[in-house]
């Protein structure tokens, strides 16, 4: 009878422990030890954690591709601490760059990342990530998440020149040429310029 009672207590302890660890991890603070730069963004919180780099389409929809889509798909992070899928919107650069190029070398690998969680969790149910530093699990060397512009230059040798990439990008220039800066055509651009310049 005593053995039976002890077994019940043990099972109960394990179940409560599991339940509590679930609830704790949902509210865990990942800011300790972060060296991320602050940007003053909406509900910004420094956040460093260990995770696995995943192809988002594969992870969510089960539609998997070689090497996480070879740069053609968004990549994300499944955080070790709570198995939560983190949507990564941005790398550490200042010029309108996503993070897929920075995560791609770590496709399906375990990494440590450092950056910022951003966005109002009450309005959007969660927060999103800006990765600034990344390293493969077990490595001492952090790498800056700033590969995007170099990769863009390799893809667009004909766009070489002065000024930021987004003013030379062929796809951007094609759209602006076709529909203007406001997407309403050249006449709207001229009207705006006449009124404001």
């Amino acid at each position: 009878m005593k053995i039976f009672k002890n077994s019940i207590v043990s099972v109960f302890s394990v179940l409560v422990g599991l339940a509590l660890s679930t609830s704790v991890s949902m509210a865990e603070d990942f800011s300790a030890g972060s060296n991320a730069k602050e940007f003053g963004l909406e509900e910004e919180v420094k956040s460093t954690f260990s995770a696995k780099v995943v192809d988002m389409v594969c992870e969510i929809a089960g539609d998997c591709s070689d090497n996480c889509g070879n740069g053609e798909r968004q990549l994300g992070l499944v955080r070790d601490a709570d198995n939560k899928l983190i949507s990564v919107l941005k790398n550490g650069q200042f010029s309108f760059n996503g993070a897929a190029e920075d995560l791609l070398p770590y496709c399906n690998k375990k990494v440590d990342v450092d950056g910022l969680m951003i966005g109002d969790p009450e309005e959007f149910n969660t927060q999103f990530y800006m990765v600034q530093l990344i390293r493969e699990a077990g490595s001492d060397k952090w790498n800056k998440a700033n590969r995007w512009t170099k990769k863009w230059a390799e893809r667009n040798p004909e766009a070489k020149g002065k000024g930021p990439w987004f003013r030379r990008d062929p796809r951007v220039k094609k759209q602006v040429e076709a529909t203007g800066y406001f997407g309403l055509g050249k006449e709207a651009d001229i009207a705006y310029a006449k009124e404001n310049q």
């Binding site: 179940l15 609830s23 968004q74 951003i118 987004f166 406001f182 310049q197």
Partner: protein
């Protein structure tokens, strides 16, 4: 003793089920067919507040910046009429970071799309199977905000024409 054991068992199951349900609710990935109408937006500027309030980082005011962000590989979203954001994972069979014009051509447009809706950890994701209507740009907010950011419209536009 027997009734205590029963009560104890119910309590254990209840506590565990409660927490397990919370966890499952946040990680569900079962797709649901969806027809959705909304504006194609640049998710970074909308969610981060880096360029100002949400009303200023959509529509015509933010059109050129949305092109920059899309070409830059920032995830594109659909902002529906209830203010919910759906992160677009695929557009008509095409991966969203493919260097094509498809995703560029619909920036700031209000579209109606059919596809598959997934929810994972509180985030809405969308596989767009088809765009069944495109109403074009319908938010002319450059009349209120100008170009956002200001340098997304050339300083000397007229003299360069």
């Amino acid at each position: 003793m027997k009734s205590h054991f029963k009560l104890f068992s119910v309590a254990v199951v209840s506590v565990f089920t409660c927490f397990a349900n919370i966890n499952l609710a946040f990680s569900a990935t079962e797709p649901k067919p969806i027809e959705i109408k909304g504006e194609i937006i640049d998710t970074w500027c909308y969610l981060s507040g880096v360029m100002g309030g949400q009303d200023a980082v959509i529509g015509t005011a933010h059109h050129t910046c949305a092109l920059w962000c899309t070409a830059g590989g920032i995830p594109v979203g659909v902002l529906d009429e209830d203010g919910q954001i759906y992160m677009v994972l695929k557009l008509k069979g095409e991966d969203t970071l493919k260097q094509s014009d498809s995703i560029m051509e619909i920036q700031s447009d209000v579209i109606t799309a059919k596809g598959l809706h997934y929810v994972r950890d509180g985030v809405n994701y969308l596989i767009v199977e088809d765009v069944i209507a495109n109403d074009g740009i319908s938010n002319f907010n450059h009349e209120d905000y100008g170009s956002v950011p200001p340098n997304s419209f050339p300083k000397k536009y007229l003299s360069n024409q």
